[in-house]
Amino acid sequence: MIMATEERVLVKPPSEVAKQRPGEIEDASWLPVKVKVRNLNFHYGGHQALFDNSIDIPASRVTAIIGPSGCGKSTHIRVYNRIFEIYRSHKAKGTVEIDGENVLSPATDILKLRKKVGMIFQRPTPFPMSIFNNVAYGVKLHYRASRGEIADRVEDALKRGALWDEVKDKLGEPATALSGGQQQRLCIARAIAVEPELILMDEPCSAIDPVATSKIEDLIETLRDNYTVVLVTHNMQQAARVSDFTAFFYKGRIVEFGATKKIFTNPDSGQTEDYITGRFG
């Protein structure tokens, strides 16, 4: 079980590291850390949802968070971009360092943080505007740019979001007219358009059909090369398919974190094994 090691050293050159595919990675210890969480506790009013979470999310990899519903998976990643703060009664304590900066510190520039950390939600959330403006929205917020520059950025983001070919002829149409799967890829493109480094995905496939799901999984696969992805999922096959590392949450605690292959074949914890093999959850 790998948890809370203080320092990590690269033992392989990054070029070689980048070539590895999911499942091939056995050990996170030689990867740079993108998010370092220490003793994170979370309260919804009087109810405690997270207990002493500590984890190191490796950079440029896909990390899956699995566990039964209500175990705190979503709550955990909602701390990374401080989105929980828009609800008054939600409180987080502890440290969450992204690239060495504690995001929970009051000094954190929250707009900068959220530009750097994109988020995809359980249901597609197209804004009530055209497809083009959905993707341009974040760009316009964060940049002063000419029409041409924005159009280029939108096209690039839609291409990376694997949606360009399907929508290039109807960019002016309302985003709500797209199918659920397309809407979700649009949301991914919208997040990509502001050039985040870390993308949080909160069960992005829970509201869409299997075919659309496989497209999004393919997309996550391509994102892996340029972004750090944290994927919350209740679907264990999905975690096994797309992630390099997996964390198993249970009742607000991180029970186990390690290479996906190891978690799914030879977990250290009996609880993890029970969940993986379907004995509960």
């Binding site: 520039d109 707009l111 900068k112 917020l141 940049y143 002063r144």
Partner: protein, 283 residues
């Protein structure tokens, strides 16, 4: 492509947040100011005689607005008696019988139009059908004008409230073999009772403070409302007449009547809102 200054964006955000506070305070301030003036200027007029005696001739001190209070109560009560049942049944039609039928769509649109029609036009309409032909202003005409104002509000509330009743309840009633009308009146109305009562109360409270529809129907009178086929005293037209008069005693009475009406209307409104909120919470 240059990054936008976050300081500027944040400054715009802060400016809006700061501007919001005085805006919101305007809302409170106007309410507080109106209430304060109405209370301060009206409380002195509310003597026992105000509730029980007839008005005195112009320029004479004393007397009261007992006739106007009684007249307003009478006409509002009659209007509720007239407008509510029709409104309830019409609401049943909109909700229970073909809610998406063409006729229901037309009725719904017309109801909106009627709700948006200025109350003074309702007054003029009633004047031309109930005052002109009979050659005299009457309390009946006033009550009908108020009923026309109550009707569309009750219709819409009824439709909304009946829509909140789950379909299972309708179906289980019908499944027992009960006829439609018994299911509607006995089960669905009962299930929606709180909402319906408060909806009607709100409509009646609002109408009780109306002036414009009474100006050319009930008119006003210095006497007790002995018969509703005569011009009938009422508080709102009295306020209008007294406020515009040069006599300070009358103006004081107008403030007294204003206070009485404001307090009653607000009290019913607050009560009804509490009940509705409570109901929604439980639903």
């Amino acid at each position: 492509m240059r990054p936008r200054s976050r300081t500027e964006r944040r400054a715009a955000d802060t400016a809006m947040r700061v501007a919001m506070v005085p805006a919101a305070l305007i809302g409170i301030a106007v309410l507080a100011w109106i209430l304060w003036e109405v209370i301060a200027r009206g409380i002195g007029a509310l003597t026992p005689a105000f509730f029980t005696e007839l008005p005195t001739p112009p320029g004479m001190e004393g007397g009261g607005l007992g006739n106007a209070i009684l007249g307003t109560l009478l006409m509002t009560f009659l209007a509720a008696l007239l407008g509510t049942p029709i409104g309830l049944l019409a609401g049943v039609f909109l909700c229970e019988f073909g809610p998406s039928s063409r006729i229901a769509t037309v009725v719904r649109f017309t109801t909106n139009l009627l709700m948006g029609t200025p109350s003074i036009i309702i007054g003029i309409f009633v004047y031309s059908v109930l005052v002109l032909p009979f050659g005299r202003f009457s309390g009946w005409a006033g009550a009908v004008a108020l009923a026309i104002l109550i009707l569309p509000v009750v219709m819409r509330t009824t439709e909304d409230m009946l829509n909140l009743v789950p379909d299972e309840l309708r179906e289980s009633g019908l499944a027992l073999g009960a006829p439609r009308w018994r299911v509607t009146l006995g089960i669905i109305f009962r299930a929606a009772r709180t909402g319906l009562v408060t909806g009607v109360l709100l409509a009646v409270a609002r109408v009780s403070g109306e002036t414009a529809p009474l100006l050319f129907t009930a008119l006003n009178s210095f006497y007790w409302p002995g018969s509703l086929s005569q011009p009938t005293a009422n508080m709102t037209v009295t306020i209008f007449n007294y406020a515009m008069s040069p006599y300070s005693d009358w103006q004081a009475k107008a403030w007294g009547a204003s206070l009485l009406i404001t307090v009653s209307v607000l009290a019913v409104t607050v009560l009804a809102r509490f009940v509705i909120r409570d109901k929604r919470k439980r639903a």
